[in-house]
């Protein structure tokens, strides 16, 4: 590639040598950066796997089904059951709340709001995506948690029959997975909204007009033209948000009151997540404890990878599909 530059064809000798050398230096420099990135990535993956394997070898409990996390005890026992449950459940709650609302806001910005409101509001949502998670955490524990008290006991009262919304003991601050889910929903809302909004904006005007000209109301137009076109975009935006929610550390660590119990009573304080567990435990961890945390980190990493990979596959499909439609 490099030698194909037209400079070679007519360049005088000294200049040609100069440009050759410049080209090769620059090429190697930029390739080196790429290789370095690969090396870092490989190092992370390799290192995590190696340390995890060390830890797993010394684990006296079942890594997948054990509730406790006591890798530094005389008889090291640790497992990710509680963490997996907590991570998945809180992320799931966040998605259930955030995705419909985000789609609603995206529609609000792209199709409903008067333009004077839509523009600044879209901008505001973008800015909110940048609020650091520690601030969300602080707000969550000092503002949201006190305000969730009423709602929690209300849900216990009216929805307690669902089992998952029944509280074992009332009056405790709701530092539970449900509140964490709500906080995560608020945190991922701006990201999902931003991506979804862009997709909705790309819906060709002619498809919207086709629907309107057939006698569709605004909602029917959205259902026939906008949502089908935007569906892959909504899914991949949600995956992006899900990835964020799964890996969220500090906001969860601030709000959740952790323990090593696994309960379906989502309004009871307790449980834990991968990221939160790592952040809170690493400090007092002994070498084996650290390796055990690495193992849980690896699991989190793999889960995030799968989610991101799924999102990417969906986006790629959409590209093919819109190419065929054009």
């Amino acid at each position: 590639m490099t030698s194909a530059s037209p400079a070679d064809a007519r360049g005088r000798t000294p200049r040609r040598r100069d440009s050759r050398r410049g080209d090769s230096i620059f090429f190697n420099l930029s390739r080196g950066a790429g290789v370095l990135l690969l090396v870092v990535m490989a190092a992370i993956a390799g290192f995590l796997t190696y340390r995890s394997a060390l830890a797993l070898g010394k684990n006296e409990g079942n890594f997948l089904t054990t509730f406790e996390w006591t890798p530094d005890a005389a008889k090291p026992v640790f497992g990710i059951a509680v963490l997996t449950f907590g991570t998945l459940v809180s992320a799931l709650i966040a998605m259930i709340i955030a995705v419909p609302i985000a789609v609603g806001i995206a529609l609000f910005i792209s199709h409903y709001a008067p333009r004077r409101i839509a523009q600044p509001f879209a901008y505001l949502v973008d800015l909110l995506a940048a609020v650091p998670s520690i601030v969300y955490g602080l707000w969550g524990v000092l503002f949201l948690v006190p305000h969730m008290g009423g709602l929690t006991s209300w849900m216990d009262q009216y929805l307690g029959w669902t089992y998952i919304f029944s509280q074992s003991s009332s009056g405790v601050p709701p530092r539970n997975l449900f509140t964490v889910g709500i906080l995560l929903a608020i945190m991922v809302l701006p990201i999902i909204t931003a991506v979804t909004r862009e997709v909705f904006r790309q819906v060709p005007r002619m498809h919207e007009e086709a629907a309107l000209a057939l006698g569709a109301t605004r909602w029917e137009m959205i259902r026939t033209a906008v949502l089908p076109f935007g569906r892959p975009g909504i899914i991949s935006a949600s995956m992006l948000g899900l990835g964020r929610a799964l890996g969220e550390t500090i906001a969860v660590a601030t709000v959740l009151s952790t323990n090593s119990k696994l309960t379906l009573h989502l309004l009871d304080p307790g449980g834990g997540t991968f990221a939160e567990n790592i952040a809170l435990k690493f400090n007092e961890a002994q070498p084996l404890g650290r390796d055990a945390l690495m193992a849980s980190g690896l699991v989190l990493f793999v889960i995030t990878l799968l989610v991101n990979g799924a999102a990417r596959v969906i986006i790629a499909r959409r590209k093919e599909y819109s190419g065929a439609a054009a």
Partner: protein, 357 residues
């Protein structure tokens, strides 16, 4: 003629053009009415949390607008109105927590911020017993760590993006692209853990601002690569060809033509990445350790950083004094991140290349 004449009009659709409509003031009236009902029910039932008041109002609003429309205008219109109401409710659902977050942080933070707060460290202050002390050391730490991380990540990220766009063909480029994607998904704790066990434990370096920077750089690199790649792709190929046609070598073309054309977008991308890592807490918490005093040397000994400071004030001090300092630091941190964002977007608008925006 063709089959149109032979087949009789199958489905008899309504041919009326006029339809009963709700008066224009109806949505506003329903809104006001349902808020009133929500508040009334909340007050009478003695629900202490305003969240419930709002939820009741929202439910009443949705039901009322559907029923009103369904009785007057028919089912299709009612569905349309219901969708509109839902979208508005979604909007409110988003606005309430986000406004509350902003408002609460500003309100609490302004109470804590003072010239002393900004210019003093926590040295010699017993955090649990006194409202004194400040975030000076944390500001210094954050700036140094973020700067170091940027110095590591930005050039590597930039060069990688140049490689992928300008040279990248073949298996190596494919692998790099793939792993950049993978890297974007690394949870920040995992990056922190990695540096902790490799740099601090295996290689034996002590806690320092720099080891925090290393973890932050890992988080920042893929973001920089992605955004720079997008920007370089926007540079039209004609520009490159025009430059080659003048006999300019490839590397000079890239340095003198391609990069300057895309510099606005690249800067924006880097600044957004900086804003993102500035707020990262977990890796800093594991690697920087958190000092109470001013340590302006990022390579030796524990430092402090703003996110970590907030966390420590909340979790370790954990009383009114600590909360107050945490809010003060949170406001400064938000202002810093928002400032970066605004500047970045300003640059993007000011120097957007063709096709951008």
């Amino acid at each position: 003629m063709t089959a149109i004449d032979t087949v009789a009009a199958a489905p008899q659709l309504s041919r009326r053009l006029t339809a009963a409509r709700l008066p224009r003031w109806a949505p506003a009236a329903i809104t006001v009415g349902s808020i009133a009902v929500g508040c009334a029910v909340g007050a009478v039932a003695g629900l202490e949390s305003h969240l419930q008041w709002g939820l009741i109002s929202a439910l009443v609003f949705l039901v009322a607008s559907y029923t009103a429309s369904a009785t007057v205008e028919g089912r299709r219109q009612a569905k349309d109105r219901f969708a509109t109401s839902l979208v508005w409710v979604a909007f409110i659902c988003a606005v309430v927590p986000l406004v509350s977050l902003t408002f609460y942080t500003v309100q609490q933070g302004l109470g804590a911020i003072s010239p002393e707060f900004l210019s003093h460290s926590m040295k010699g202050v017993v955090g649990t017993l006194s409202p004194d002390g400040g975030i000076y050391h944390a500001i210094i730490g954050t700036i140094e760590q973020v700067l170091l991380a940027t110095l590591i990540a930005a050039p590597i990220g930039l060069l990688t993006a140049v490689y992928l766009v300008e040279y990248g063909r073949g298996r190596l480029a494919k692998a790099v692209t793939f792993f950049v994607d993978v890297m974007t998904g690394i949870p920040s704790v995992v990056a922190g853990l990695f540096i902790l066990s490799l740099w601090n434990i295996l290689l034996g370096f002590e806690y320092s601002g720099f080891s925090g920077s290393l973890a932050l750089a890992i988080l920042m690199m893929p973001v920089v690569v992605r955004s720079t790649e997008e920007m370089l792709k926007l540079v039209p190929n004609e520009l490159r060809e025009a430059s080659y046609a003048l006999g300019v070598p490839r590397w000079k073309t890239i340095l003198r033509i391609v990069l300057p054309t895309a510099i606005g977008g690249i800067t924006t991308g880097v600044m957004l990445a900086v804003a993102r890592i500035t707020g990262e807490t977990a890796p800093v918490m594991m690697l920087v350790f958190g000092a109470d005093f001013i340590n302006s040397d990022p390579f030796n000994g524990p430092q402090q950083s703003l996110p970590l400071y907030i966390w420590q004030q909340y979790s370790q001090v954990n009383n009114e004094f600590g909360y107050s300092r945490a809010w003060g630091a949170a406001l400064v941190l938000i202002a810093f991140v928002m400032g970066l964002n605004l500047i970045a977007r300003g640059i993007a608008r000011w120097r957007s290349p063709k096709g951008g925006r």
